[in-house]
Amino acid sequence: MIIETNGLSKKYKKIKSKGLLKKEYIDYSAVNNITLSIEKNEHIGLVGLNGSGKSTLIKMILGILQPTGGEVKTFDRDPVKFRQKNAMHIGIVFGQRSQLRWDLPPIDTFKLNREIYRIPVDVYEERLARLTKLLDAAEFLYQPVRTLSLGQRMKAEFIAALIHDPELIILDEPTIGLDVVTKNSIVSFLKTLTDKTIIFTSHDLEEVEKVCSRVIILNRGKLVLDKSIAEVEKLDTPTTIKFTTQDDLSKIQGKLEIRKVSDSSYEVADIASDEVKNTLSLITGQLDIQHIEVKRSKLEYLLEQTAERRDNFES
C-alpha cells in the first residue's frame, strides 16, 4: 500500500464577516472524513469541481498540510513527520507552480535535483537521455526558462519531477493551458509509466479516462465516488448528441426533445444508451447534417450530476 487514509479531514477557519475591530469566523471543511487506499502502480484520477478539496487532500498526503482529523499514511509513514524522507520517493508537477528557475536553463534544475536526490552521474545521464527522448525535449534544455513556451516548460517540469525515478508521481493539473498536441504527447508519455503510482488531477475528464485506471470524485470535501475506470464505463449514463444543420427541424420535432444551443446548433440530451442508435438514425436520416457529435463521457456526466446536487443544495 502506497497511501492509506482513514477518516481524513481538514478544517479551516474562514472569515464570515469583518467589522472594524472584530472578525467573525466559520469552520470550513476542505476535506471531510475521507477513507481510501491506493495500491502500488495504480493510476488514480482525482477529479472534482474547483474547491472540492483535491489539492488539500494531495497536500495532506504529501505532508505539507497537517490534517485536523483522521490519519494518513504515505509509504506507511506519517507524511508530516517524515516529509523529507518521503520526498526522496515522490515526484510532483503542479500545473500552476514551477520548480524550474526562471532565469536559468532547465538543465541547471535537473543538475540541482541530481545533487539533492543523490543520483549517480551515469544513472542521471541515462535517465535524462530517456526522458528527453520520450518528451521530445532535447532542443530547449539549454535555453533559459523565461524563453520557453508553456508546453516546453511543462515538459521540462516533467523531467525535473521524474529525474530521481520516484515511486509516487503527483500531477496536479499538469496540462492546464496546454495546446492539444502537447497535451496528447504528455498523455501518451504518462500512459508509458505503468510501473509508477500516479495521482492525477485535471479538469479535462477525457485525459483522466485515458491516463487513469481508477477515478475518485470529490465534492465539497467528501468522497462521492471511488471506482475503476472499467466500472465507470459500465455505468448506464445518458448520452448527448450535438449537431449543426441549416434544415427545418419540423421533420423530427415532436419525436425528440431538441434544445437550441446557438444559431444552427442543437442538442438532444439525456438519451438512454439503448436509444442512441435510433436517435442518430433519425437525425441523420431526416436532416442535412453539417456536423454531429456524440458526447458519452461518463465522468463528465457524473461530475455534472455532482455540480447539480451542489447547486440544488445551495439554493
Binding site: 479551516y12 489539492s55 488539500t56 497536500k59 504529501l62 505539507i64 498540510l65 497537517q66 508530516v80 516529509r83 523529507q84 524522507k85 520526498a87 526522496m88 515522490i90 510532483i92 503542479f94 500545473g95 500552476q96 507552480r97 514551477s98 520548480q99 528557475r101 532565469d103 536559468l104 541547471d108 543538475k111 540541482l112 539533492i116 536526490y117 533559459p144 496536479d172 493539473e173
Partner: protein
C-alpha cells in the same frame, strides 16, 4: 551553491548597476566624512572611511533570504520547496552563498581594492585571516536573523514592515552606517550585548584593531548567537509549517 552563483551571473548587468550605485555612495561618504573630520588627523579619516567601505561590502554580500522566503510563501511555491528532501535552511543558505559569491566577484572585488587603498595601517596575513573568519560567522549570523524574519511571512504573508524595522534596528545597533564609537555610550553598551553589531560593526572593529583577544571575544559571541538563533528559527519554522495554509491548486 552553483545555482545561486549562476542566478547572480544571469543578472550580471543588474549587478554592474549595483556596483555603480555603491561607488557613488562611497564617493558621497568620502567627501561627507572628509568634511566631518576636517580638523582630525588624516589617519582617523582613513580609518573611518575604510571601515565604512568594509560595511558596504558586508551589506552588499550578505544574503536577503527573508525576501526569498517571503516570495515563496506569497506565491505558494513554498509547497514545492517543502517537498524536496533538503531542509529550507540548507537550500536558502547554499543558494544565498552562491548568489553572494557572484556579487563579490562583480562588486566586492572593487570594494576590497578600495578598502586596501584606504586602510591606514599595515595589514598582516593573521589579521586578514581573523577578519575572514569573523566575516564568515557574521554572514551565518545575519543569515539566521534573515531566516527568522522570513518565517514571520508564514503568518503575515508580507515581511515588508518587518524588514523595514530590521533595517532601522541595524542602522542604530549594528554600526553598518556609522561607526558605533560615534554613538552615545548607552547605545554602544546596548549594541555590545545585542547580536546585530556582531554581523557588521564588530567585524569593522576587528579589521581596525586586529588582536587575538578581540577576535576570540567576537567569534565566541557570534557562535553563541548563531546557535541560539538556529534553534529559535527551528522552533518558529516547525510551528509555522503546522499552521500553514497553501490553498488554490
Amino acid at each position: 551553491m552553483s545555482m545561486g552563483f549562476k542566478k547572480g551571473f544571469s543578472s550580471r548587468y543588474a549587478l554592474v548597476f549595483y556596483l555603480g550605485s555603491i561607488l557613488i555612495s562611497i564617493t558621497i561618504q568620502f567627501f561627507l566624512w572628509k568634511a566631518v573630520l576636517v580638523n582630525k588627523p588624516e589617519v582617523e579619516f582613513k580609518q573611518t572611511i575604510s571601515y565604512l567601505v568594509l560595511m558596504q561590502f558586508l551589506s552588499m554580500a550578505f544574503p536577503k533570504s527573508s525576501y526569498e522566503l517571503n516570495d515563496e510563501i506569497k506565491s505558494g511555491d513554498m509547497a514545492l520547496s517543502l517537498l524536496k528532501p533538503i531542509s529550507l535552511e540548507n537550500k536558502f543558505f547554499w543558494e544565498g552563498l552562491g548568489y553572494s559569491l557572484a556579487k563579490v566577484v562583480v562588486i566586492g572585488l572593487v570594494e576590497i581594492v578600495i578598502y586596501f587603498l584606504l586602510v591606514p595601517h599595515a595589514v598582516t596575513v593573521l589579521s586578514v585571516l581573523m577578519v575572514c573568519v569573523a566575516i564568515a560567522l557574521a554572514y551565518t549570523l545575519y543569515f539566521e536573523i534573515e531566516l527568522i524574519l522570513g518565517t514571520f511571512a508564514f503568518y503575515t504573508y508580507s515581511i515588508w514592515g518587518i524588514a523595514t524595522f530590521k533595517s532601522a534596528i541595524l542602522l542604530i545597533l549594528s554600526g553598518n552606517i556609522f561607526p558605533v564609537e560615534y554613538y552615545p555610550s548607552f547605545i554602544r553598551s546596548l549594541s555590545d550585548i545585542l547580536p546585530f553589531q556582531y554581523s557588521f560593526g564588530a567585524v569593522g572593529l576587528l579589521s581596525q584593531n586586529p588582536s587575538l583577544d578581540l577576535f576570540t571575544k567576537i567569534v565566541l559571541i557570534q557562535l553563541f548567537y548563531i546557535v541560539v538563533f538556529h534553534f529559535i528559527y527551528l522552533g518558529l519554522f516547525n510551528r509555522a509549517v503546522k499552521s500553514v495554509v497553501i490553498q488554490g491548486g
